[in-house]
Amino acid sequence: MIGKGGRVPEAVRLWTLRLFVLTRKELLQLRRDVPLLLFLLYSFSLSIYVSGAGISMQLNNASLLVHDGDHSESSRELIHRFRQPYFRFDGEVQDQKVGVRRLDQGTAMLLLDIPPRFHESIVGREPVSVQLLVDTTNAPQGLSAAAYASRIVGKFSFDLVASRLGGASDGGVQLPAVESAHRVWFNQEQNETWFQSISHILRMITLFAFLLPAAALVREKEHGTVEQLLVSPVTPLQIMLSKVLAMTLVIQAATAIAMATVLKPVFGVPVKGSAALFFVMTALYSFTTAGLGLFAATITRNQAQVGMVSLLVISPMLLLSGITTPFEAMPPWVQTLMALSPLRYFVDVTYGILLKGVGLELLWDSVLAMVFLGGTMFGLGMWRFRRQLQ
């Protein structure tokens, strides 16, 4: 009994040691690839800064041209209401045709056309309409601009009604109205920097977590060094696990760098939940995504192939998992398909921890999904890899 009891820990120790040695080998190999390391550093620092500071999907500074056919007090008042940050007044045109040409060239996005006798109609209580031409080559932006414009004109119109009726009635204006009061949670100022920089980290983690282990595994196959591993006393599980471990470590470090150098000090992203939980989740996500990558590596023979297969898998993950577009609006078949994308769950987890400050009590289902997906992919990869080695 004592002998047996002594041997089991010894086997465990040896197993862990071999895993450790293999992991170290992966890290060493990565360290010697200087261009790759520099690029990794850039991706998790400067690149995150640029996209966080630079990208705004909300309408801002939409270039507005005006054709003012009236030049009156009222028309000036209306034009004045189209203002920053949504609209940027880009000058007046004398002729509608000139304005349309500018829209053609893409140097302006909107053309507001105020008809002659605008002021007269308002004073004379005649209904009048102003025209807005919108460039909708980018449909969502065009719609958004049109929505803001209609809000502005609606308010202008409502103010006129209120002042008219107010003047007529005895004393204070009493009109029934439904007013909107908004409270925005989790990101009160609707600070898009937070959103974009976090999205970008997710993008980078996904790319690296998928590609690094996949390329590392397929490289061994391509170079034939996997034969050397075969004759050494390591198991396929150790080979695969060591790659995942090494790359997960690297990604964790890179994420920590991004958090410490860009997200927190420069953008002031609040980490409302537990930072430790976030890193554990990042590790889980890296593992899950690495599982996908390793599976891709087992069905391909060389790095060129694995590159193409990665593109096949990664592009939908990045575009359809809900970091670039609203997930709810996606067609049902996309939503079903994306149940297979670990990023879809990690998005909720990341925003949940960083911005909403929620913990496992609300995120457990996403976590479970990632564990399940990661486990399955890793298992499938293992199974294929083992078969290929025999």
């Binding site: 690029f39 991706s43 996209s51 630079g54 705004s56 999907m57 270039s63 209306l78 349309v100 053609d104 893409g106 996005m109 308002i122 209580r125 807005l132 919108v134 460039d135 909708t136 080559t137 969502p140 065009g142 209609s150 004109v153 609606g154 202008f156 119109s157 409502f158 006129l160 009493q174 009109l175 029934p176 109205a177 007013e179 909107s180 009061a181 908004h182 925005v184 989790f186 990101n187 609707q190 959103f195 993008r203 690296f208 590609l211 390329a215 590392a216 060129a304 192939q305 193409m308 593109l311 096949l312 592009s315 577009t325 709810e328 609006a329 067609p331 925003y351 949940g352 911005l355 609300l362």
Partner: protein, 384 residues
């Protein structure tokens, strides 16, 4: 340049590509697959926003009011709750993005001609969606208000409804959408996806083609051969250029025939720009491949370089004009932005040479510079 040697390099490269079945399949399949999947699947409109309601009034007016949201395609009704704390929980685990709270005495106050404040709670993690949702809510409230006032005036002042309506909407806005009259997001996304498909696949094809030789050492055959630098580079690029050219045609056909995006412009402009853009994209792959030693580095760097500016700085999702000045500079440093302009201009706006020569010029510039950089970087006498 010796034609025969160049052709020999190109043939060798072509054979290598063709014999790798999976690789070849992907090279032709990926661009077409992407445009179809993303053309149908990538919906940029904010729709089906999941929401919950808390009706503190429970009157017929409040129910009528809430029905406007429940019936709308912009919103997806999930739940009616009776406690504000439940809203916290639902927003926290992302089962809803918005909650509407109708106050007590909603009906009573409106009938008395007074205003009520309806609270909306929004999930701000995705600022764009929160903002758009806010816009929808305000639009609903405005139209409700207008009806209420019209109704109020007919009741209290004895006006005919038509007259009251004239009074309540003195100024209206008529919006005309240009270029994409029905504002279909498919029409704006599909042409830009041609850019995406060309940009993401072809640099990788090229980069791996060269680095593979470096990593396996077969590049020494080239170093010691009579083929000159230019012959090698041109021969190397030719097959990938050919593949991408075929893809341009296929993508164009998918956009026009499958998605029915109108092609209003000049086909010669479109294809000239596409050829130049393909030269740029294979050029990027070539430059990366000359800077790195391992396929792994080539793989990662090309994918990230191809993916990130293509998604963020090309105008595909975010118009370049609404980027910050710093990001705009970055957008101008990559060829994607110019090509997106040309593709959208050709498809939707119907522009020709005259309006787009600047973009074409920029693309040509990128193509030339990239090839020159590649020529400068490539050496047959490596130091190591």
């Amino acid at each position: 340049m010796n034609m025969a040697r160049m052709v020999a390099v190109a043939r060798k490269e072509w054979k290598e590509t063709v014999r790798d079945r999976l690789f070849l399949l992907m090279a032709f399949l990926l661009p077409g697959l992407w445009i179809v999947v993303f053309g149908y699947g990538l919906v940029l409109d904010v729709e089906h926003v999941p929401f919950a309601v808390l009706d503190r009034d429970q009157s017929s007016s409040s129910r009528d009011y809430l029905y406007r949201f429940i019936d709308s395609r912009y919103f997806d009704f999930r739940k009616s709750v009776s406690d504000e704390r439940e809203i916290d929980r639902l927003l926290g685990d992302t089962s809803i993005r918005m909650a509407i709270i109708v106050p007590e005495r909603f009906e009573e106050r409106l009938l008395a001609g007074r205003s009520v404040i309806v609270q909306t709670l929004l999930d701000g993690t995705f600022p764009l969606h929160a903002d758009t949702t806010k816009g929808y809510v305000i639009a609903v409230n405005n139209s409700v208000t207008q009806e209420l006032i019209t109704d109020f005036l007919t009741r209290t002042r004895g006006l005919v409804p038509a007259e009251a309506r004239r009074l309540t909407e003195p100024v209206s806005l008529e919006t005309r959408y240009l270029y994409n009259e029905e504002v279909r997001s498919t029409w704006s996304i599909v042409p830009a996806l041609i850019m995406f498909a060309l940009m993401v696949a072809s640099p990788l094809l090229t980069a791996l083609g060269v680095v593979r030789e470096k990593e396996t050492g077969s590049i020494y055959n080239i170093y010691s051969s009579t083929a000159s630098k230019a012959e090698f580079l041109v021969g190397k690029l030719a097959p990938y250029f050919a593949i991408s050219t075929i893809n341009v045609g296929v993508l164009w056909m998918i956009a026009v025939w499958l998605f029915r995006v109108p092609f209003k412009g000049n086909i010669a402009v479109f294809f000239t720009a596409s050829m130049l853009f393909v030269l740029c994209s294979v050029g990027i792959g070539l430059v990366v491949s000359l800077l790195v030693r391992t396929q792994m580095a080539a793989l990662l760097i090309t994918i990230v370089i191809a993916m990130v500016p293509t998604l963020l700085f090309s105008g595909l999702l975010v118009p370049v004009s609404s980027l910050s000045p710093g990001a705009q500079v970055q957008a101008h440093l990559f060829p994607m932005m110019y090509y997106t302009d040309v593709v959208r201009g050709s498809f939707l706006k119907g522009l020709g040479w005259k309006s787009m020569w600047m973009d074409l010029f920029a693309l040509a510039g990128f193509a030339v510079v990239l090839q020159l950089v590649a020529y400068g970087l490539f050496t047959k006498r490596p130091k190591t």
